[in-house]
Symmetry: C2
Subunit: 468 residues, 2 copies
């Protein structure tokens, strides 16, 4: 893929390396393979390595690093597990990468307040393992086992956002290191507050460009008594999408509602040796007090019939539920294996649910015409869907065609009243669309905020905001 930016690496003075090396010793490295690994994410870009990687253990250590970099105008890039998909962590101007993975302590679980406070490097699965016997869980579940800090930085969401909200809805407060290396906490532990500007949700989604998130207090949810998983197939994508939209409009509290197209199911059958019907499919989950999930499923079965879908395969038993849903969880890798050696250009359109069917249908026709292998699946209850366009990264023609498809879809989403990114973030890849989506005035406000909070542009430079 053509890199949509002109990298101009900044000079990192030797004093920065010396100070970091003295303070962090073996937790500071310029080993080239580690640098390469930290210069790439799951996007299709060529890696752009940082000049050094540091592994802090505490907020104070992060503050030390940023203060030093601020003094020398060196870029600072926070790194979680590298699972972002839009080039968020590429060191386009070089600089110091702060790998947060060793800040992996769960600082406090407070079940009585239904909150947990974690260091930013804790992964979502590690947190849920810790909560396994607490009666509570942390709800946000992007595809990867991302760090909580990374999920805050990109305002991530996932399969059960339709019921429990996005990362933004599940935050109480953050500890953030500012561009000057000061430590601030964005809010108290109260569940709501009107005390001043809402810094929590300003840093959430700022992708490391306004501050480095070091600690996070998240909301937890009580584990429901009853969970029911259901799978149904449809004659066409429109039927599957419409069924979910009708359910949402009726107030049926879906816990999860994922649509996978026939090609995705085909890929899953080959990958997991299953024999699912290769047709557009809904993976559903219902939850509630005893009996409620079953009642909801019965109501949904009727809606599914009305929209041309078939009988539910369903279960409330944990093992059977896992069997029913595993295909959905494996979709990303199953699709990638359809074309060995391929990379995916993954789109992230999100539109109002009333136009989702039309947007998906227009997209499907465009994708079919391209003759590239493309899988479509998505969190249709939120109006969010992904296309995985498989390309040979060495094939310039495929790269260009995929990028053109992605661009048309992004513009289509904006034209339909939606957004260029529902949950993946801007990174490098979507900067070009920010003005189209928000207008020059709103982007100017964002630029002023960036300038006010990071006057020397050291925090993840080149990301989120387009060049003037």
């Amino acid at each position: 893929m053509n890199q949509p930016f002109s990298p101009a690496r900044r000079d990192i003075p030797a004093a920065v390396h010396t100070s970091l090396s003295e303070r962090f010793r073996e937790r500071y490295t310029t080993n080239s393979s580690i640098l390469s690994q930290h210069g790439a994410d799951e996007s299709h870009y060529e890696p752009m390595p940082p000049d050094a990687v540091v592994f802090p253990l505490s907020t104070e250590e992060v503050a030390f690093i940023v203060k030093l970099c601020a003094e020398h105008r060196a870029p600072v890039i926070a790194f979680g597990v590298g699972s972002s998909v839009e080039g968020h962590v590429l060191a386009v101007q070089g600089g110091i990468c702060i790998d947060m993975s060793r800040m992996d302590r769960i600082l406090k679980v407070q079940p009585e307040d239904m909150t947990a406070t974690v260091q930013a490097g804790v992964t979502r699965m590690a947190l849920n393992d810790e909560l396994a016997h607490s009666g509570f869980f942390f709800s946000v579940d992007p595809g990867a086992n991302a760090t909580i800090g990374g999920m805050v930085a990109t305002a991530a969401s996932g399969t059960n956002t339709v019921r429990y909200g996005t990362m933004r809805d599940n935050l109480l407060n953050l500890t953030v290191v500012t561009a000057e290396g000061e430590i601030v906490r964005t809010a108290s532990r109260a569940r709501k507050s009107s005390a001043g500007y809402h810094l929590t949700n300003l840093y959430c989604g700022s992708e490391g460009t306004l501050g480095i998130i070091t600690e996070v207090t998240v909301k937890l949810h009580p584990r429901p008594e009853e969970i029911l998983a259901a799978v149904a197939t449809f004659g066409d994508i429109k039927g599957a999408v419409d069924a979910v939209i009708q359910a949402v409009q009726l107030g049926l509290p879906l816990a999860r509602a994922e649509m996978l197209d026939a090609l995705t199911i085909h890929a899953i059958n080959r990958h997991s040796k299953t024999s699912l019907t290769e047709a557009p499919t809904l993976f559903l989950e219902f939850c509630g007090a005893a009996g409620e999930a079953t009642a909801q499923a019965a109501q949904m079965q009727q809606i599914v019939h009305d929209c041309g879908g078939g009988e539910f395969a369903m279960s409330t038993r944990e093992e059977e539920r896992a069997t029913l849903w595993n295909p959905r969880h494996n979709a990303y890798f199953a699709v990638l294996q359809q074309k060995p050696g391929s990379r995916s250009v993954t789109t992230d359109a999100c539109v109002p649910v009333s136009v989702l069917s039309d947007c998906v249908e227009e997209t499907r026709l465009d994708l079919e015409a391209s003759e590239l292998p493309v899988a479509i699946f998505g969190h249709v209850g939120d109006g969010n869907f992904h296309c995985m366009i498989l390309i040979d990264p060495a094939n310039a023609d495929e790269r260009e065609r995929a990028e053109a498809l992605s661009q048309r879809l992004t513009r289509r989403a904006i034209r339909f009243g939606g957004t260029c990114t529902g949950e993946h973030g801007v990174g490098l890849h979507k900067t070009a669309y920010l003005v189209e989506e928000h207008g020059e005035g709103a982007v100017d406000i964002m630029r002023r905020i960036k300038k006010a909070l990071d006057p020397h542009d050291i925090l993840n430079p080149g990301k989120v905001l387009p060049d003037h």
Copy 2:
């Protein structure tokens, strides 16, 4: 009450008056009684009138006013219905008041997306009247019939926040006029987005200090099939509070959970000629699909018993529900009438639910010692409670004692890990606590944002942020 600021009115050049008068004619006024009315809210402060009031009809007219004021460095204060309680709308430096009440058009209701777009001057009740037959409703319900724009500006919430969230959770996008008089839209109509900084929730809660909100797209919720109202009395406040906390922790989806103390019930009995037991009381509401509310209520009755509460008076019928809940809705005025001619110093502490009982109990003892009439009630599911401290506004001693109580409570809330304001906002009255709650570093970040977005400090100057 001593005014906690030193008013220094700015000179408003004649050119501003001339331009406004020419453009707005009878929708521009300097009539002194209208000025006085626009210089006060429901707080205990002496009115501080603006220099003129203008009644725009459109976003473009608001932009014209702000552009003119920006040119002449004149303060601009947006005004809804004046129901704020912390001095938000007082023209402490003079200036032009923009009365939004004639921007009262409901621009679009889109039931298929469960959204409505309104001008900022639409009140919450007017919106719900419009939605009466749509099958949907707008959930946020502060005590007053506030404007939607005002509710966005203060990040309001209300009795059903425990189920449906605060104003921040119910916004899709805003149209805002910037300090330069430019018109920006903060987001698309997609239900979620990771496309750049979250301007929607930055303006929400900014109390007119970062921009003037002119249009709002809110989320709607499907009307539940079954609604059940219930009322139970307790031997003490702690039992009532603990019952709600236990229910929340068990995941029981309370739609509303309001606690009123014995004095509030006594006031209601006198005001509404009712004969309720004068004891700490919970007003509850449950909702869901057919049968669900009844099942939830049965579960809650058990919890109430465990916490020392009595039998529910309850009903699912609309008229009986209204009869059960009316006392709660009339509480504010019933309490005010306990002491004719009084004003209320109303507090707004919000703490983590695990310490709510302790915080309320400590507060109750402090209040009792004061010998001022005080009612306590609150949205206990969120950890938020209000004290109405009744004072004779002409009595300096009462004013001072009430302010001292309020100050101790605010500091207690912060000490308990909570916030100085759960839903009323900062206005003038809470500016002194912002640093105590957030720390100097976080407040400095807020100051930089203010400076970046309103460099000449014309937007509602003196509010939210403390003087240096």
